[in-house]
């Protein structure tokens, strides 16, 4: 039984069958992870900067939410940042090996799946 249930759940055509709300209840919160986005770190010419530590903070509470390091394509994948619902996040970027670039703090006020942040040369 369980495998049929799982199979049906995976089929997009049957998704409607699995979403419901009781009369006195709310809709289900269908957000997958809380939110996922990609941080793309580039220099002024748009070139990827690898190996930058990306720390995401809830700007209101100061809570640290996630830290990752950009890969060779300048990308960091932020998987879980629930306070993104308040779209008031602070990104702190610290180059780990590119000593030429300055650390940067930036505050994001809008939700977006991909955020590009430019680091400046010293």
């Amino acid at each position: 039984m369980k495998w049929i249930h799982n199979l049906l759940k995976c089929c997009s055509f049957s998704a409607v069958l699995f979403t419901f709300q009781a009369c006195y209840g709310t809709p289900e919160d269908m957000l997958e992870a809380d939110a996922t986005c990609t941080i793309h770190v580039v220099d002024a010419s748009g070139k990827d900067i690898p190996n930058v530590e990306v720390l995401v903070k809830n700007n209101a509470s100061g809570d640290k939410l996630y830290a990752d390091t950009t890969n060779g394509a300048g990308m960091a994948f932020i998987k879980e940042y629930m306070a993104c619902s308040v779209v008031n996040l602070k990104f702190e970027l610290r180059p780990l090996e590119n000593a030429d670039f300055q650390p940067k703090d930036t505050v994001i006020m809008g939700l977006s799946e991909q955020i590009t942040i430019t680091l400046d040369h010293k």
């Binding site: 069958l17 419901f20 009369c23 209840g25 709310t26 809709p27 919160d29 269908m30 619902s85 939700l111």
Partner: protein, 355 residues
């Protein structure tokens, strides 16, 4: 025909698997309004104390993390949940345990600051009640000015893209002629979904004729929803899960009728009792109590009357040709001795003769 057979097969699988993914918590019975239709007879200063957070979270944590599906949603209900000052703390603890959470509110205490606080605590779903245009809403809710506050709250929530948000309206004699006006208002505000339901004849609502629709009005309501689902306004209109609708099935809502109570839905009530939707007869159908039982064990081992509804083959349901699709209507339509269903939507539609 084939669609119905497939749906019944699906419902059987769902019932056998009975994955818990929707949990109500009746976190308070205090309320700042005095609604005519409220089944729970809530008051500003309720006789029942609010359940401490730790008691509820302790019960939630009996559900192993691995048994929590992706969309598992805890729904805070009341009373009016915002009468509690610690809702954000509750929400944070629910999120920390890997569950989503949402809240049903009358909107009276829902300010921009409160919304911010709740979103920061991971709130992902919200429902606000609006029971008519100004005079009708205030009449229904028992307080002048409650409409304006509810509309302000609706504006705030509709502007917040993170929320799975909808507005619910309980349709009655007073507001049935205002449906177009409410629809236009919600479209103007940008509310994504408007969910309509009718009143269950229990509690205060039982003896108030202004609250109940005649059969022909009920069909008018179905037609209203049908028409408004056909044009692409900003607000999607849908009928609630409350009952089997015969020829309006899959016309006034997306999915076929399926009462998920006890199949996917459980609740922790104010006194710790474990049941399903809070509008179900709790004296009759509660399955245990978090103060004496393990919530998850109760979910797995009890709930038989919810998962096998053959007991509902009684009274008018006994020889009903629609029983296999309806199963005796939503569980909330059975109260007391349960020898007769208190509301049959299908019959209302068939009786009205309105094609």
């Amino acid at each position: 025909m084939i669609g119905n057979l497939l749906f019944r097969a699906f419902r059987k699988v769902e019932t056998n698997v009975h994955e818990l993914n929707y949990l109500f918590w009746e976190c308070t019975t205090r309320c700042n309004l005095h609604c005519r239709h409220c089944g729970s007879d809530c008051k500003e200063a309720s006789g029942e104390r609010d359940m401490p957070i730790a008691d509820f979270i302790g019960a939630l944590k009996t559900i192993p993390r691995k048994a929590i599906p992706k969309n598992f949603t805890v729904v805070l209900t009341g009373g009016e949940p915002l009468m509690r000052r610690d809702i954000a703390e509750v929400g944070r603890q629910i999120r920390e345990y890997g569950c989503h959470w949402g809240m049903v509110t009358n909107g009276q205490l829902y300010t921009a600051e409160r919304q911010d606080e709740l979103l920061r605590a991971g709130m992902g779903a919200l429902t606000i009640s609006l029971d008519g245009l100004e005079a009708s809403h205030d009449w229904m809710r028992g307080r002048t000015g409650s409409y304006n506050r509810a509309v302000e709250a609706i504006r705030l929530a509709a502007a917040q893209p993170r929320l799975y948000f909808d507005v619910v309206t309980c349709v009655n004699q007073r507001n049935i002629n205002e449906l177009d006006g409410i629809y236009n208002l919600l479209c103007e505000i940008g509310v994504p979904q408007w969910r309509i339901f009718t009143i269950i004849p229990i509690g205060r609502a039982k003896d108030d004729p202004k609250l109940h629709l005649a059969d022909s009005q009920f069909v008018d309501l179905m037609e209203f929803i049908k028409q408004h689902r056909q044009h692409s306004g900003r607000t999607k209109v849908t009928f609630s899960c409350e009952g089997y609708l015969g020829r309006y099935e899959r016309v006034v809502r997306d999915a076929p009728y399926f009462c998920h109570a006890g199949v996917n839905i459980a609740s922790v009530l104010i006194d710790g009792r474990i049941c399903a939707c809070p509008n179900i007869d709790r004296d009759r159908f509660s399955q245990g109590n978090i103060y004496t039982d393990n919530l998850y064990q109760v979910w797995n081992e009890r709930f038989e009357p919810f998962r096998n509804r053959n007991w509902a083959r009684t009274g008018i349901c006994k020889n009903c040709k629609a029983f296999n699709l309806c199963l005796g209507n939503g569980m909330h339509n059975w109260h007391g001795a349960c020898d007769e269903v208190i509301n049959c939507h299908y019959r209302k539609i068939e009786n009205s003769g309105n094609q």
